[in-house]
């Protein structure tokens, strides 16, 4: 089962990176908001809503508040979006093989996804506003809590396949039993970890509007805010693609991609509307007491299984 490869220039500008990814991520934001709205018995936004939001924000005045490092303030949103877009080059978007692939690109992708969160934290700490500062602290605290379990959860399939390359894991995952069946705990930790990464509702303490206005992005208006929002949407697409490729039996063609990612989006939207916001200490407690422990157990089970398998079945 081979995936199709693309020439580099198209890969950078049109297909997995650039134009396609931006429009697709806006579509995903709409789908997410619409699903949550339907779960709450509302009509929900119209299909062009995220596009209108982004265009409006881009056309708005950008205020650089007093007491910030101006260069950092302006450049952080660009770095955040660029890192998210770069990460898209290593995942099997829409079932095509990744534009670039090497041993270890799994780790590179995960760190590129974390750059976004680091930029958010820096952006909050850069401004003199107290709400931004609290938001930045919470963002970084949350980063330290979900990052390790999320990494451990994605490590499971990588160990079974015996490769650090996303493309290889994707190909081999489609040939074997779906990892969601053989590693259900890992799937759960990965999906909930993704929600923590994206600061989706149960884990949105860093931007809790009832307590700290808008968190780290309180002082951002116009262009900077638009780019951060876009970056978060791009990360949603990449994260869902990664989880689908690892746990839902790989992504072979566009149709395969669409239905698997749609199922994942449905589950995350359901979780978003089911649970109320956790306090930041509850988030950290959940991840380190439950999430990391479960992921470690899963990892232990895989290692023991790999050791016992040849002994029991003589393979």
């Amino acid at each position: 089962m081979n995936n199709i490869t693309l020439p580099p220039l198209i890969a950078l500008l049109l297909f997995p990176g650039g134009l396609f990814l931006l429009s697709f991520s806006l579509f995903f934001e709409w789908a997410d908001r619409k699903l949550v709205a339907r779960f709450q018995n509302r009509l929900g936004p119209r299909w062009f809503q995220p596009l209108a939001d982004v265009v409006k924000l881009l056309a708005k005045e950008e205020i650089v508040p007093d007491g910030v490092h101006k260069g950092l303030f302006l450049v952080l949103p660009i770095i955040a979006l660029a890192a998210a877009l770069t990460a898209a080059l290593y995942v099997p978007m829409l079932g095509f093989s990744p534009a670039f692939s090497f041993q270890g690109d799994l780790i590179v992708t995960l760190y590129l996804l974390s750059v976004m969160t680091l930029c958010l934290g820096l952006a909050g700490a850069n401004t003199a506003d107290r709400f931004s500062l609290i938001g930045a602290t919470r963002t970084l605290t949350q980063l330290f809590s979900y990052e390790a379990p999320f990494l451990l959860a994605l490590l499971g399939p990588a160990i079974v396949v015996g490769s650090w390359s996303i493309a290889e894991i994707n190909t081999l995952a489609s040939d074997s039993l779906w990892f969601i069946l053989s590693q259900p705990i890992g799937f759960l930790v990965a999906l909930v970890g993704l929600m923590g990464k994206l600061e989706l509702p149960p884990f949105d303490a860093p931007e809790a509007e009832t307590e700290i206005v808008a968190g780290a992005l309180t002082e951002y208006s116009g262009r900077g805010f638009a780019l951060f929002r876009l970056g978060k949407d791009v990360e949603l697409v990449i994260g869902l693609t990664l989880v689908a490729a690892f746990y839902l039996g790989g992504i072979i063609n566009p149709l395969d991609f669409l239905w698997k990612v749609a199922v994942l989006l449905l589950v995350t939207a359901g979780l978003q509307s089911l649970f109320a916001r956790l306090r930041i200490d509850q988030t950290v407690g959940l991840w380190w007491r439950v999430g990391a422990l479960l992921a470690l157990l899963q990892l232990l089970a895989i290692v023991v299984g790999r050791y016992l398998n040849p002994l029991l079945f003589g393979r």
């Binding site: 209108a52 409006k56 808008a214």
Partner: protein, 163 residues
């Protein structure tokens, strides 16, 4: 103030900007001294029953993210500075909707020792919604009327609009 070029490219760009503005008005809600009646109606407007997200309206926490300042009540001496500050913190283009009779004229509180006056005397107001308190339908109608007035003028100036 800014250079206006009447080229086809510029006109198309202006149309796109206006379209985006009309379709995504993010609101911030401020009570400058009202009795809370109008505020409860505004909160009722934002509930799933009326679902303003279908028009693209989102309630924002930060004035930096908002386009429309929905303001209720007469302006008290205490809240005048805060109201002006919130208005100044909002990035251009920004619009103000005054909700309730008190916001229009001071209402029942007119002439009190601690009242500056109506909202229009402190900051420029773009749309007034009368009522004590106005129904959620009236508030939605006020915001929609404001958005329709944007479509007529390509670059709306923030001046108080009578009626």
């Amino acid at each position: 103030m800014e250079l206006k070029l009447d080229t086809p490219w510029q006109r198309a760009l202006d149309q796109i900007k206006t379209w985006a503005r009309v379709n995504s008005p993010w609101a911030i809600h401020y009570n400058s001294g009202s009795c809370n009646g109008c505020d409860i109606e505004i909160l009722a407007t934002l509930t799933p029953r009326y679902d303003l997200e279908r028009f693209g309206v989102k309630l924002q926490g930060s004035p930096r993210h908002a386009d429309v300042l929905i303001c209720t009540g007469p302006v008290t001496l205490q809240s005048r500075d805060r109201l002006v500050r919130i208005y100044q913190q909002m990035p251009e283009p920004k619009f103000v909707v005054a909700v309730g009779s008190c916001g229009i004229s001071g209402g029942a509180f007119q002439g009190c020792y601690n009242i500056v006056g109506s909202i229009g005397e402190v900051i420029p107001v773009d749309a007034y919604v009368p009522g004590c308190p106005p129904r959620p339908e009236a508030i939605i109608h006020g915001v929609v009327a404001l958005l329709q007035s944007l479509q007529k003028k390509p670059a709306p100036a923030a001046v108080p609009e009578e009626k």
